[in-house]
Amino acid sequence: MTDTPAFDMASAGETARRWRRTALRVTRTLWFRRIVVLVVLAVAWELAARWQSNPILLPSFLEAFTAFREASLNEGLLAAAVASLSVLLKGYVAAIVIATIIVSIAAANSFVRDALQTVAAMLNPLPAIALLPLALLWFGLGEASLLFVLINAVVWPFALAALQGFEGVPETHRLVGRNYGLTGAAYVRQILIPSALPAVISGMRVGWAFAWRTLIAAELVFGVSSSSGGLGWFIFRARNELYTDRVFAGLATVILIGLLVEAVAFRGLESATVRRWGMLR
């Protein structure tokens, strides 16, 4: 990222100035600042834990890190993460499909659109996890209940965002598409979907964040759907057995997976599409 062209007769002062400028530029980058924040947090944590010196209440950063490595290797942390992610993926995909169908109908029919907006507004202030007791009553202890809560957490925010995206397609784009004689499915695929893509991706992102939080919370309430529990269950069990360092390891995994999906999947999708096209800055 630095530009150090070949030069001759550069004095020592010039080189030092160049270095200072490079260093200054590095401190302005986002990743550098993030690393600084993480390091500061880790050090503060380590100091606080040592000063407090009660590993059951607050294990130190290094202990938690060791527990994280240990749990990944031997205690089934990875398996728990995989179990959580597989439930999440099932629910997320189902929710996106359901929402897409609802939005397609809502885009064509104004009554369905108003109905969708009403239902979404009703369910918006309700945390999706609040439906878990009902879900347990209806579907029993098991994956079905988790999926119900998950789908509910994703469908409404995503459907609303996507609907807004389709309604916000500029009139000029619509006219251009119609001008070329596009109708029906071809019109939707070639004009409406790409034009609404920024809103659709942002809806998927919000839906993903809701789903991940809701799932972990649901797993904390009841974890075992089959033989293997998810991450929430891992945290809950570790707490019951007073392995506080493992609780931290579980929490760290939740954060890591969340960040990874956000930074790699969604950010990557955006850079390859809407950012590249200048539809999002």
């Binding site: 000029t172 784009h173 006219l175 119609r178 001008n179 070329y180 096209w277 200048g278 539809m279």
Partner: protein, 270 residues
């Protein structure tokens, strides 16, 4: 700026007009019922002619263009393309809008121009791209073929939109104040280039503007409209004028005459 003629003027296919309006009446639906935008307007555009609809805002000139594009059905009267009534939008009448966002942001400039060829003219992608590249070269955009529209200036976007319309080789090109959002210098350059292209290709054009000088420059014929609702005032021949005549006495005379016809009358009436 423009390459020499690639395409020679199209031969005249028939004496029948390309676009014809007979007693064209257009209404807009509002909350308080329909409002008449255009009242019984007649005009014809022959092959290779450039008709400019000129009038103050509210004269319904853009509505006429929308109706010709097939976006707005006539309340009464007829609009026909080569003798067939217009029933809806179609790629035989490509529109160049005023808005810069008419280029689809998710396609490169090249693919934007190739797009109507692929979806409307059923060309293969490679062939469509070749035609698109040729046309873009003709409007001076050979350096931005693979750029996305958001990296282009307003003038370049309008150039690309014009290239897209030309590449699709429609029966008639419809332009709705395409240069209105450009700065004065760019606008002048674009007008000059459009006239050159029109001369080379003999394109048939329906052009909407409220700028009198632009109308006299671009049009071979001017169709003047009054406002609320739009009615025909008169039709003028302007084929003698060219970009070189800008500022000459003859040009000023015609400009003033158009101005007086459009506004003098209303001033006398009020």
């Amino acid at each position: 700026m423009l390459a020499p003629a690639i395409e020679t003027a199209r031969e005249t296919r028939s004496a029948a007009p390309v676009l014809e309006a007979r007693g064209l009446t257009l209404d807009y639906a509002t909350e308080r019922g329909p409002v008449r935008a255009v009242d019984a307007v007649d005009f014809t555009i022959a092959e290779g002619e450039r008709l400019v609809l000129l009038g103050p805002s509210g004269c319904g000139k853009s509505s006429i263009l929308k109706a010709a594009a097939g976006f707005l059905p006539p309340t009464a009267g007829t609009l026909s393309l080569r003798g067939r009534p217009i029933n809806g939008p179609g790629p035989d009448r490509i529109v160049v809008f005023q808005e810069f966002d008419q280029l689809l942001p998710w396609k490169t400039v090249l693919d934007n121009v190739a797009f109507p060829l692929v979806v409307a003219r059923r060309k293969k992608k490679g062939e469509a791209r070749e035609i698109a590249a040729d046309t873009l070269r003709r409007v001076g955009l050979e350096r931005v073929l693979n750029s996305y529209p958001h990296t282009l200036s307003g003038g370049m976007k309008q150039r690309a939109a014009i290239a897209r319309a030309l590449a699709a080789s429609p029966d008639v090109l419809l332009m709705d104040e395409p240069f209105a959002a450009l700065d004065a210098l760019t606008r002048l350059q674009m007008q000059r280039d459009l006239i050159d292209i029109a001369r080379e290709t003999g394109l048939t054009l329906l052009f909407v503007t409220h700028d009198i000088d632009e109308a006299v420059l671009i049009g071979t014929r001017l169709h003047l409209l009054s406002a609320h609702p739009g009615r025909t005032i008169t039709t003028l021949d302007a084929s003698a004028f060219d970009i070189r005549d800008l500022g000459t006495a003859a040009f000023e005379t015609v400009s003033r005459k158009v101005h007086d016809t459009l506004f003098g009358r209303t001033r006398a009436a009020s």
